[in-house]
């Protein structure tokens, strides 16, 4: 998805061969959470980092706002080398980088309004401004009616909305989402992702989110990096990684999101068709079968959206007729064909 031209080439966040090794509790050695990670997050994009637990996602996102410090390489955020910032510089950076958490991390003894006001008070803003800004933020996340409640009186989704309002209080450029929907049910996850997407569109907020769910990436991200044992094993536009994963880890996540086709004991040529955009809705399959005389059996399939782009993926076994011609005809219709068995096209 193309971004506005002013922002397109500007990296808000850059990881330059970043490593993080935690010292061992006793003796030499240690645990490498991240190894030589290089990444660039462009202004105004939603960047996802997906990985299993222990892959280093949590460390990666905390390096961005200096909650963790790298043991090698550089993290550049909004033009600053995070590790080189002094105490005041780091605090100023943290006001430009909001963060939300899996378990919300709200102050239980403060009301919703007081929670949202907290970062503004920390920054020493005048009371009148704090009050006005808090009301505005609560309005944005739809919690104005709950301003005087305590977090314990809210649902999970409402708590995360408070977290989001609080993270936005100081008008940050970047929003870090640390497994922000992992503790929520599917319906609430949908609403929170919708809200996050809206912030990206309306405020031009750059968003980095870490997750272990491919579905979250599919719904909101522009680009994604796949993390495995502290290394980036795949990176690219979400459509590419999702439809044509090249690493085992990425394939595993896609499979988790969609279910996998079992093709053992099937006759004929096994092909996977990938439809994108308008092709998704055209009656290509019937046309090809009629004109080339191939029979097909559908072994698996899915039709979904990647953000705004519809796509479909079908796994077929083609038998009889002119299989090669059928494949050529699919390709002509703008459908990508991957042959899963036998010789190529």
């Amino acid at each position: 998805m193309q971004r506005s031209p002013i922002h397109r080439t500007f990296d808000v966040i850059a990881f330059e061969a970043v490593s993080k090794t935690y010292a061992a509790a006793k003796g030499p050695g240690g645990h490498a959470a991240l190894s030589e990670v290089s990444l660039a997050v462009k202004a105004g994009e939603v960047f996802g980092v997906i990985g299993a637990s222990g892959a280093g996602k949590s460390t990666l996102i905390r390096l961005i706002n200096g909650l963790e410090t790298p043991t090698g390489g550089k993290v550049i955020v909004d033009g600053d080398d995070v590790a080189a910032l002094g105490v005041d510089g780091l605090r100023a950076l943290r006001r430009r980088v909001g963060m939300i958490f899996q378990h919300f991390n709200l102050l239980s003894g403060k009301t919703v309004a007081q929670n949202v006001a907290f970062p503004l008070k920390l920054a020493g803003r005048p009371a009148a401004e704090v009050k006005a800004r808090t009301a505005e933020l609560l309005e944005r996340v739809g919690l104005s009616a709950h301003a005087d409640k305590f977090p314990a009186q809210l649902s999970g989704g409402q708590k995360q909305r408070v977290g989001i309002a609080r993270a936005l209080a100081t008008n940050p450029k970047v929003l870090l989402c640390d497994e922000a929907t992992s503790a929520l049910d599917p319906e609430t996850t949908e609403q929170i992702l919708e809200l996050i997407s809206g912030l990206n569109r309306e405020l031009g907020l750059t968003i980095v989110l870490i997750t272990h769910e491919m579905d979250v990436v599919r719904r909101v991200c522009d680009r994604v990096a796949v993390l495995e044992a502290g290394r980036v094993v795949e990176e690219g536009a979400v459509e590419d990684v999702f439809l044509h994963p090249t690493s085992d880890t990425a394939r595993r996540f896609v499979r988790e999101a969609d279910g996998e086709v079992s093709a053992s004991g099937v006759d004929g040529r096994l092909v996977r068709l990938t439809f994108r955009g308008e092709a998704t809705y055209k009656p290509v399959l019937g046309e090809v079968a009629r004109t080339t005389g191939v029979d097909y059996s559908i072994l698996g399939g899915r039709i979904h959206r990647l953000r705004e782009t519809p796509y479909g993926q079908l796994t077929l076994a083609l038998t009889g007729g002119d299989v090669a011609a059928a494949i050529a005809q699919f390709q002509k219709a703008g459908v990508r064909v991957d042959v899963l068995n036998g010789e190529g096209v």
Partner: protein
């Protein structure tokens, strides 16, 4: 059974002793919090994985607290006499009781404070830093307010412990209800005096606990 008819009970003296006990309790409680709270906060903050992690300082403070806590209070009362005289000019009466009470209770309270602070969700502390808080702001604005119910409960337990400490302080001439119980109830076999003082202390403990519990409920929003 003339004792049980409360013939020995001098109600004016009981009243004075009750006031003395309350004075010792109030004075020592204020000083215990004033000393124990910062001590507990420092114990917590210098602990492993905390924001002011410092093994040497933590080890030293911890040792001091453990030493003071392992001395039986009756012994502490006696050992403290020269220091008490140096501090308040006398080792007798309400004033003379307060230094040993504070030295006995503050380390105890500090440990309870440390435990209460450990109960605070680490995520909340991390979130505060992520919002750009200074350490001082994290401690005063997030850590202590989040621990408030636990801190109030710790103060309640400490106040109840101080009631029994004030009774022991009677041994070295501190006055108060404990003193009456020992001098009249125990040494002169005046069971009625013993009953009255014990009942009064029981009521005092009960009232303290009820106040503490109700404040905890009020400040807790979990």
């Amino acid at each position: 059974m003339e004792n049980v008819a409360f013939n020995n009970v001098d109600w004016a003296e009981i009243g004075q002793a009750t006031l003395d006990t309350l004075a010792m309790l109030g004075g020592s409680m204020i000083l215990t919090i004033a000393l124990g709270l910062p001590l507990g906060v420092i114990l917590f903050l210098t602990g492993k994985g905390q924001m002011l992690e410092n093994r040497a300082a933590n080890g030293l403070l911890s040792l001091l607290v453990n030493i003071l806590r392992s001395v039986p209070f009756v012994i502490l009362l006696i050992v403290m006499i020269p220091l008490t005289v140096a501090l308040v000019g006398t080792s007798l009466g309400v004033a003379g009781a307060i230094p040993p009470l504070v030295v006995g209770a503050a380390p105890f309270f500090a440990r309870l404070v440390e435990t209460a602070l450990r109960e605070v969700d680490k995520g909340v502390i991390e979130a505060s830093f992520a919002m750009g808080a200074k350490r001082r702001q994290v401690v005063l604005g997030a850590l202590l307010p989040e621990a408030l119910p636990g801190l109030v409960a710790a103060a309640t337990v400490t106040a109840v412990a101080l009631v029994s400490y004030t009774a022991m302080a009677g041994v070295v001439g501190a006055g108060g209800l404990g003193d009456l119980a020992i001098r009249f109830g125990y040494q002169r076999f005046q069971t009625d005096v013993m009953i009255v003082t014990v009942v009064l202390m029981l009521v005092l403990v009960q009232v303290l606990q009820m106040i503490g519990d109700s404040v905890v409920r009020k400040v807790s929003h979990k």
